[in-house]
């Protein structure tokens, strides 16, 4: 080894160690800072303010000064958007993997990849302009709200679902298809009863990405209905609260140190809430997997 290449080797080594140490510090500092600054806010009133928790959760008593409505809003957003996006995305992925051929398939794929690269604020702008159009034409009283936001979030997370589904199915061993065919299954049956269940782990990784993305997005909901104070979402239209927006709003507009501490606590709550939703997704995946592999649940 010449001394020149040895110098490059050593610099590269030093550079990579430095990068790693720097990067490792980040999540540690982040979490520590969040914990530290959120300390004052941890209590039941963080979630429910002055309202008794059970009344708020079961009887719909309005909550002021608490993040419960924002939590409900976030969960509602994720649920609605994934309800729209998952069937659409998985169906599209199946189509692109198994039925689309030639130019049409390439065109569709390009469009979906394009969608993946679009800044989220443009999708929010699209939703906003859609509403303007609806107001001018069919429904002058239409409003921003959960439905519009969920629709836009669905568009946002669609590419994750389409590409993970497509890659999972395309990546299955080809013997699986031949085996299915040799057993007298039609193409549709092979796709639906063998390929799709086999590709579940991959598909669910897309679902998990989608859930995470829908829970954390701020730019889209900023333009389509999220506000700082709206109470627990009562309908699909009309303003609502969501955790990411709550955090964003308080970071700029907090009136007191207590409110700021709430923002930090909300950040941790968002992380935990996302974790819980992901946990549910993994549980569902395990159950589906068991049903597929053994024919029944138990």
């Amino acid at each position: 080894m010449t001394s020149k290449s040895s110098f490059i080797d050593k610099t590269a080594m030093a550079g990579s160690w430095l990068s790693t140490l720097l990067t490792m510090a980040v999540p540690a500092v982040l979490l520590a800072f969040l914990l530290h600054r959120s300390m004052p806010a941890w209590s039941v009133s963080l979630f429910f303010g002055e309202t008794p928790p059970l009344d708020a959760m079961l009887h719909g008593e309005p909550v002021f000064d608490g993040i419960w409505p924002a939590c409900v809003g976030t969960v509602a957003l994720v649920a609605l958007s994934t309800l729209i996006a998952i069937p659409l995305g998985v169906a599209s992925g199946i189509y692109l993997a198994e039925y689309a051929h030639g130019r049409l398939g390439t065109l569709f794929s390009f469009c979906v990849d394009m969608l993946a690269g679009i800044p989220s604020v443009l999708i929010g702008l699209f939703g906003f302009s859609l509403l303007l159009l609806i107001r001018k034409t069919v429904a002058p009283d239409a409003n921003t709200g959960l439905l519009l936001s969920a629709l836009c979030l669905a568009i946002l997370v669609l590419p994750y679902l389409v590409s993970t589904t497509r890659m999972s199915i395309a990546g299955l061993p080809s013997e699986l298809r031949l085996t299915g065919a040799s057993l007298g299954l039609s193409h549709n049956q092979v796709v639906g009863r063998i390929l799709l269940p086999s590709a579940m782990p991959g598909i669910f990784s897309g679902v998990i990405l989608a859930i995470g993305r829908a829970a954390e997005d701020t730019a889209v909901i900023l333009l389509t209905g999220a506000v700082a104070n709206a109470g627990t979402p009562g309908s699909l239209t009309g303003n609502y609260e969501a955790l990411p927006f709550f955090i964003f709003y308080l970071s700029a507009e907090h009136q007191s140190p207590e409110e700021l501490a709430q923002a930090f606590a909300a950040a941790l709550v968002l992380l935990c809430l996302t974790g819980v939703m992901l946990g549910f997704a993994r549980l569902l995946q395990a159950r589906l997997d068991q049903k597929w592999k053994t024919g029944h649940l138990n």
Binding site: W17, S19, I118, G212
Partner: protein
């Protein structure tokens, strides 16, 4: 019947991107028709005086995204190199796990921590309010870093699965294998990661919104306040100041869309060349 349903689903997914483009185009039409196009390309955004120049925002987007990539890409490469040979083998899995965790942290949380940790730091050690080009740049680098690492990691793994055993048989250490074989072979993968990272950086709204200060002016120093196309859109819509400003907003959106389209076209070409090369 089922196949037709699937076809429709795929069509809807593909058409949604066209719908977005269509709406942007439609709503920015007043700008083109009214001859206000020239007025858009000015350096002054003063809606109260009827000036809707968006050049400062275009400059802001570029000034933020490019330096961010200059910081984030080398660090991501260094980290990925560490995972794939420069560092001890046992560290690879926990590090990837840590990077995955970092991608799952919401953007708003990065912003929040930066506002109350980085900004005061800048304010006290340097001049200005702290809400600056520099603050946004550093935080955005942190944000796109894990994404770039994961893409690079994927690329490296693909290549190493092809050459790994052969390289070991030649007596190369993992570090040498990485530096001398994997890296040169993954030039396309590096380009792809850079393109994707750039797309991510230019498309982010929240970091510039929370940290860059939002003055629609061309920056002269790192501590100046800037505004990007993305934060501009969010600000104008959210404040709902003047609907006269709306058309210029959609023009901003159109510019962002075209930029994103070009990045995607480049990525598409890179992917196709890679595939052909492998055949």
């Amino acid at each position: 019947m089922t196949v037709r349903l699937l076809h429709c689903a795929a069509a809807v997914s593909a058409l949604s991107v066209l719908a977005i483009f269509g709406f942007l185009l439609w709503f920015s039409l007043p700008v083109f028709q009214g001859g206000a196009l020239a007025a858009l390309f000015s350096w002054h955004w003063r809606p109260m005086q009827g000036e809707f120049g968006i050049l400062p925002m275009i400059a802001g987007s570029l000034c933020l995204a490019l330096p961010t990539m200059l910081i984030a890409f080398p660090v991501a490469l260094g980290l990925c190199a560490f995972i794939h040979g420069m560092g001890p083998a046992w560290a690879a899995r926990p590090l990837i796990g840590m990077v995955r965790f970092m991608t799952s942290i919401p953007t708003v949380v990065y912003g929040l921590v930066s506002v109350f940790l980085l900004v005061p730091l800048l304010r006290s050690s340097l001049s200005g309010s702290g809400f600056s080009w520099l603050a946004a740049m550093l935080t955005l680098s942190l944000l796109v870093l894990p994404t770039i690492v994961l893409i690079l990691d994927n690329q490296f793994r693909m290549i190493q699965s092809e050459i790994g055993l052969g390289a070991l048989a030649l007596g190369l250490t993992p570090a040498q294998q990485l530096l001398r074989l994997t890296l040169p072979l993954s030039s396309r993968g590096l380009l792809m990661a850079a393109a994707l990272g750039f797309g991510r950086a230019i498309g982010d709204t929240l970091i510039p919104l929370m940290l860059a200060g939002n003055a629609p002016l061309l920056p002269h120093s790192l501590l100046d306040s800037i505004r990007t196309l993305t934060s501009h859109i969010a600000l104008v819509v959210a404040t709902d100041s003047q609907s006269a400003a709306y058309s210029s907003l959609f023009a901003c959106g159109l510019i962002l869309f075209i930029a994103s389209f070009l990045v995607n076209l480049g990525l598409h070409d890179l992917r196709n060349v890679r595939r052909k090369g492998h055949d």
